[in-house]
C-alpha cells in the first residue's frame, strides 16, 4: 500500500509539462543515439552529463534515465533493418531480426521488440519497487563460481546455434572464444596473442568484430546479388505484429524480462550479457531448431526484452545499495553525486520523493518509448526501399564511423574490415556467425570467473560442486550440451530437438 502511495506521489511530481519535456527529450536522444553504431548508452549519458549541470536533480535524472532506457530500443532499429548493430546490447537481435526483415517482416520485428521492451521495462520496475533491495542483497552473494556456471550455461548454446552444421557451429564458437583471449590476461597481466601490437593490449573490441561480421559482410553480399533494392525478399507488409505473433512471443518476452532483470542486478554482468543469455535460452527452447537464426520471432522478442529488463535491473543495486550494475549506472552515480545525492541504502529514506519520481518517470518513459517506436515503424522501414548501391555505401560509411568512434582509432576500423572479409567467407561456407559472437562476448567473462574461482579454492575444482547455485547451473549446462547430441543419435522417428549433429542425418546421405 505504501508503495502505491509513494508511486502516485512520484507521478504527481513528474506529470508537469516541464518534467514531461525532459522525459520526452531523453527518449528521443536515447533512441537516436542507440541507432548510431559505436555509441552506447554509457557514452551518450557521459557525453550529455555536462548539459545537465544547470538543471535540477530531478530534471537531470529524468533526462539521463530517459536516454538510458531509450537507447536500449534504439539499438535494435538498425540491427533489425540493416544488420548494423546500433548498440552492443542489440547486437544479438541482428541474427534473427534482419532475417525477419528479409522475409518482409521488418515491422513485425520492430514492433515485437518495442512491445517486449515495454513489458520488460515495466517488469523490472515492478521488481525494483517491490523486492529490489532484497534481490540486491542476494545478487551480492553471487561469486565467481556462480558467474562462471551461469556463463557456462550460456556458452553451451553454441551447440544449437550452428543451425546448418553443429561442427561448423562449434568451430565458429571456438574461434570467438580464441579471439576473446587476445590482449592482457585479466588475472595475471600477461600479454597474450598481441603479436607486438600495442593496440591489441585491450583486446579485440567485440563491437568492431560485430559490425564487420554482420554489417560489412551483408552490404558486400547484397552488392554481389544486386537485386535492385536493399531488402532482398518480400514486401514490407505487417507493420505491427499480429495477435498470433504476440501470443507466440509472450513467453519469450516473459523469460527475457525475468532473466534480464536478474542479470541486470548482478554487478558487472550488464545488458549485453543478458541479451546474449536470453538468445541462448530461446535458441535452446525453440521447437523448430532450424528456424533459429532464420527469422525466429522468439529469438528477437527474448533478447529485445532482456536488454531493457537488464537496464531496469541495473537500477536496483544502484538505488538500493549504491552499487552500479552496469557502465551506464556507474555514470548515473556521477550524475546523482553532482547534485549532492549519494546513492545507497539510505537513498529511499533520505531522498524518497526524488527516487519515486524517477521510478514514475521510468514508467512514463516506457510508455512513451512504445508509442514512439510503434509510430516510427512505418517511416523507418521505408529506408529499405533505397537502391542497393546507395544503401551499401551508407552502411559501409556507418560501419567506418561506428568502428572509429569506439576508441577514436583506426585499429578498430581495420578490425571492422577484416571481420567483414571473414564474415563474407563464413557466409559462403555456411559457417554460422552467432556462435562466434557468443564466444567472443561470454568467453572473457567465463575465463575470468573460472580462474578467480580457482584462486579462491587454491586450485581445487571442487569449488564449482560445493556451491549449490553454481552446481545447478553446471548441471543445466551439461544437460543442454549433451541432450542435442543424445537426441540426434536416436533412431529415425524418435522425437528429436536437434536435426543436425555430428551424426549425419539419414535423409541427407
Amino acid at each position: 500500500m505504501e508503495i502505491l502511495e509513494n508511486l502516485s506521489a512520484g507521478f504527481g511530481a513528474v506529470l508537469t509539462p516541464y518534467h514531461l519535456f525532459f522525459i520526452f527529450l531523453g527518449q528521443i536522444i536515447g533512441i537516436s543515439v542507440g541507432i548510431l553504431p559505436g555509441i552506447n548508452s554509457s557514452m551518450a549519458v557521459a557525453t550529455l552529463l555536462p548539459l545537465t549541470f544547470g538543471l535540477t536533480a530531478q530534471a537531470s535524472l529524468l533526462l539521463l534515465t530517459g536516454i538510458y532506457m531509450g537507447s536500449m530500443f534504439g539499438g535494435s532499429i538498425t540491427s533489425i533493418l540493416l544488420r548494423v548493430p546500433g548498440t552492443s546490447t542489440a547486437a544479438v537481435v541482428c541474427l534473427d531480426g534482419y532475417e525477419m526483415t528479409c522475409q518482409g517482416r521488418a515491422g513485425c520485428a520492430l514492433g515485437i521488440t518495442a512491445i517486449g521492451s515495454w513489458v520488460a521495462g515495466t517488469f523490472s520496475l515492478v521488481v525494483l519497487m517491490s523486492i529490489g533491495p532484497l534481490l540486491s542483497q542476494y545478487a551480492l552473494s553471487f561469486g565467481p563460481p556462480e558467474y562462471f556456471a551461469l556463463i557456462f550455461l550460456g556458452l553451451t548454446t553454441i551447440t544449437s546455434l550452428g543451425s546448418a552444421s553443429m561442427v561448423k557451429g562449434l568451430m565458429s564458437g571456438a574461434l570467438g572464444l580464441m579471439v576473446g583471449t587476445i590482449g592482457i590476461d585479466p588475472v595475471t597481466g600477461v600479454n597474450r596473442f598481441t603479436f607486438g601490437q600495442v593496440e591489441l593490449l585491450n583486446g579485440v573490441d567485440f563491437i568492431a568484430v560485430l559490425i564487420g561480421l554482420f554489417a560489412v559482410s551483408q552490404a558486400m553480399a547484397n552488392l554481389e546479388k544486386n537485386p535492385g533494392s536493399f531488402c532482398p525478399v518480400g514486401s514490407l507488409t505487417g507493420l505491427l505484429p499480429r495477435w498470433a505473433e504476440i501470443k507466440q512471443s509472450a513467453f519469450s518476452i516473459l523469460r527475457g524480462s525475468v532473466l534480464g532483470t536478474f542479470v541486470g542486478i548482478l554487478p558487472g554482468a550488464g545488458a549485453t550479457t543478458a541479451a546474449f543469455l536470453s538468445y541462448s535460452l530461446e535458441a535452446q527452447l525453440a521447437k523448430d531448431k532450424k528456424s533459429v537464426g532464420k527469422g525466429n520471432i522468439s529469438c528477437v522478442a527474448g533478447p529485445g526484452s532482456a536488454d531493457n529488463a537488464a537496464a531496469g535491473g541495473a537500477l536496483i543495486p544502484l538505488l538500493s545499495l549504491g552499487i552500479p550494475g552496469s557502465e551506464t549506472t556507474a555514470v548515473l552515480i556521477g550524475a546523482l553525486m553532482i547534485h549532492g545525492i549519494r546513492p545507497g541504502p539510505l537513498l529511499f529514506s533520505e531522498h524518497g520523493p526524488l527516487v519515486w519520481s524517477v521510478i514514475a518517470a521510468l514508467y512514463i518513459a516506457n510508455c512513451l518509448g512504445l508509442f514512439l517506436a510503434t509510430a516510427g515503424v512505418k517511416p523507418l522501414t521505408l529506408i529499405l526501399r533505397l537502391p542497393t548501391a546507395a544503401m551499401s555505401a551508407f552502411i559501409l560509411v556507418m560501419s567506418f564511423v561506428g568502428g572509429y568512434a569506439l576508441n577514436n582509432s583506426m585499429t578498430e576500423v581495420w578490425i571492422v574490415l577484416l571481420s567483414g572479409v571473414a564474415g563474407y567467407f563464413m557466409k559462403r561456407l555456411d559457417v554460422p556467425p552467432a556462435p562466434l559472437i557468443l564466444g567472443l562476448v561470454l568467453g572473457p567473462l567465463a575465463e575470468k570467473s573460472f580462474r578467480q574461482s580457482l584462486f579462491m579454492s587454491d586450485g581445487s575444482f571442487s569449488i564449482f560442486f560445493e556451491r549449490p547455485i553454481a552446481l545447478v547451473f553446471l548441471i543445466a549446462g551439461m544437460v543442454s550440451l549433451l541432450l542435442p547430441l543424445l537426441l540426434a543419435r536416436l533412431p529415425p522417428g524418435a522425437p528429436s530437438t536437434c536435426e543436425t549433429s555430428f551424426a549425419e542425418p539419414e535423409e541427407k546421405s
Partner: protein, 165 residues
Amino acid sequence: MRGWADRIFGLAMLGVAGLWIHLALKLPFPAFAKSARVGPGHFPAGIAILLAVPSLILIARTWTPKSRGGAADPAGMPEPTGTPAGIGGRRNLLIGFGLFTAYIAASPIAGFIPASLAFILAMTRITGNIPWLKSALAALITTGLLWAIFVLWLQIPLPAGAWRP
C-alpha cells in the same frame, strides 16, 4: 567444390588452432598465480583444442566416399543460400571491397569528409549506376549528417586529415 572449400577451411582452422596452442604454451606463468593451477596459457590452449577437434571432423568428412562422389554435401548441409553471383555480381563485390579498403586507408590522410564524399560517389556510380546528381546528393547528405552528429553534436572527432594543421 564444397568438399574442397570445407577441406581448406578445416585445414586453415587446424593451423590457427596449432598456432594458438604453440603460443599459449609459451606464455609465462607468474609465480603469484601458481596457486590457481590454471595459468594465462591454459584456457586459450583448451579452446584451441576445442577448435582443432571439429576441424579434424570437418576435414575427415571431406574424405568420405559420399563426399568424393559429389552427390551429397560433405558436411551434410544444403548448398549456400545465396544465389550464385554472376560476373557482374563478383565485379561489384571486388569493387566494393576494394573501394572500402581504399576509403579506410585514405581517411586518415585525406580526412573523413573528402574520403567519404569520394567513396559514396564512387560506390553509387560504379556499382549502382546511379545518376551523377543523385549520387552527389547521397554523398553530401550522408557525409554531412554523420559529421554533424558525431563531430558537432557528440564531439567525437573523426579523422581530420594529414593536410589539416
